[in-house]
C-alpha cells in the first residue's frame, strides 16, 4: 500500500511529465529532448515536390573516392542532414569529419577531401520520376 505522501508525489510527477510532454508537443522542438515533440516523419512532402537523399563522399590520401559509411566518422546520415545548412555556410566544418575519421580509424588513409552530396528525386503524383539529380552542396579540401 502506498502512503498518502507516496500517492501525492506520484500524482504530481504524473501531472508534471504529462504537462512537459504536451508542452513539448505543441511548442517545443527536438532541442527539448526528452520532452520534445514526437516528430518522426511529421513533416509533409508534396506529392509533386522532391525528395532529397544525402550522402558523404571523401577522397582519401591514396586518391580513392569513397562513399563514407556512418561508422567511418561516427556521424549518422541524419546527423549530417541535421547540420547540412551549417556545412553549406561553413564548408570548413567538414574538416571535422576528416579528423573524426582519423581518430576512429587511424590505420586507414586520411580523408583529404570531404563533400556532402544530395540526390534530389522529383515526385509526380507521389511517385519518384526518374533516377534523381545529384549536387555537391558543401566541400572541404585539406
Amino acid at each position: 500500500m502506498l502512503t498518502q505522501t507516496g500517492r501525492r508525489v506520484r500524482t504530481a510527477v504524473t501531472a508534471g511529465v504529462a504537462g512537459l510532454l504536451l508542452a513539448g508537443t505543441f511548442f517545443g522542438q527536438d532541442d527539448a529532448f526528452p520532452f520534445g515533440p514526437f516528430r518522426m516523419y511529421a513533416t509533409r512532402d508534396a506529392p509533386n515536390g522532391s525528395v532529397v537523399s544525402t550522402r558523404v563522399e571523401a577522397v582519401d590520401a591514396s586518391g580513392r573516392v569513397i562513399t563514407v559509411p556512418d561508422s567511418a566518422t561516427g556521424m549518422r546520415r541524419a546527423e549530417i542532414e541535421g547540420q547540412v545548412s551549417s556545412f553549406r555556410h561553413q564548408a570548413d566544418r567538414l574538416g571535422a569529419l576528416s579528423r573524426a575519421h582519423s581518430r576512429l580509424r587511424p590505420n586507414e588513409p586520411a580523408y583529404i577531401l570531404v563533400r556532402v552530396v544530395e540526390r534530389r528525386y522529383a515526385l509526380r503524383d507521389g511517385r519518384p520520376a526518374g533516377t534523381g539529380v545529384e549536387q555537391v552542396v558543401a566541400q572541404w579540401q585539406r
Binding site: L21, D30, F38, R44, P47, G74, Q83, L104
Partner: protein, 278 residues
Amino acid sequence: MAAVTAAPPGWLFDPVPYRRIVMLRRVAYLFVPVDMLLTTPWVWSHAHEPGELYRPLLIDRVLHLPTPGAWVTVLGVTLIVASLAAAAGRLPRVLGVAVAALYLEWMVVAFSYGKVDHDRVGFLVLLAVLPTVPRRDDEAAGWAVRMTTLAVVATYFLSAVAKLRFGGLDWVDGATLTRAVIRRGTGLSKHLLDHGWVLHAFQYVLVTVELLVSPLLLVRWRDPRRTWLLVGGFYLFHLMTFLAISIVFLPHCVALLALLPLERMSVQRLAQREPVPA
C-alpha cells in the same frame, strides 16, 4: 491535490502484481547493454567527434553537461556494469536510479550531434519508474506500469499531433512515406513506390491508429485477450515498419512489454529464486 489523493486509487494506482516489476527489471536492465552494444553502437563513437560537431541540447545547456570526449567511454562501461548488476536484482533502488540517470545522459550524448530519435520516451520512463518499486507493493507497481503505459501511448498519440502541427491537416495526402521508402526502403518496400496509392492509404491508417487505437491501450479490459490483441497489433506494426524502412523502435517495444501480464511467465521459477519480503 487533496481531492485527488482522497479519491479511490483509480486507474493510476490500480494494483499490478509486483512480479511484473521483477520481470520488467530483468528485461529492461538486460536490454540496456543490448541497446548500447548492438542496436545503437554509434553512440560510443561520439567520444571521438571533434567538439565543433557538438550541438548541445537544452538539457546540456541548462545542466552545463560537458562536451562529449573520452569520458563517454567511462560512462558507457559504468552504465553496462550498473545495468547488469541491476538485472541481477541487486540494490533495486540505488542501481535503478543510477541506470536511469546514466542512460538518460547516454541518450543526451547520442542526440547532441544534430539528430534526435523519437523512440526513447517510453523506455526512459520505464527506467525512471522501476526504482520506485524496490519491494513488494502492488499499488506502487500499478503506478509504475501506468506511467509506462502513458508514455507508450503518448509516443503514438502525440506523434499524430506532431504530424498535424508540422505537416498540417493534409499530412495524410502528402508523400511522406514515399520519401521514407526512397531514402530507407528495403527490397520489400521499394516495390511499393510503383503503387503510390498503397503508401498514401497507409498514411491514413497510420494517423487513425495513432489517434484512435493507441488510447485503447489505456483501458483495463476485463477480457485480457483484448490487451494481448492490441499490444500484439502494435508489435506487428513495428515489425512492418522494420521490414519496410529498416527502422525499429526497439526501446519503445521493450516499454510496451509493461502492458502484458509478464507476472504469469515462469512464476514458479521466480518464486523459488526471488523471495519477496512480506
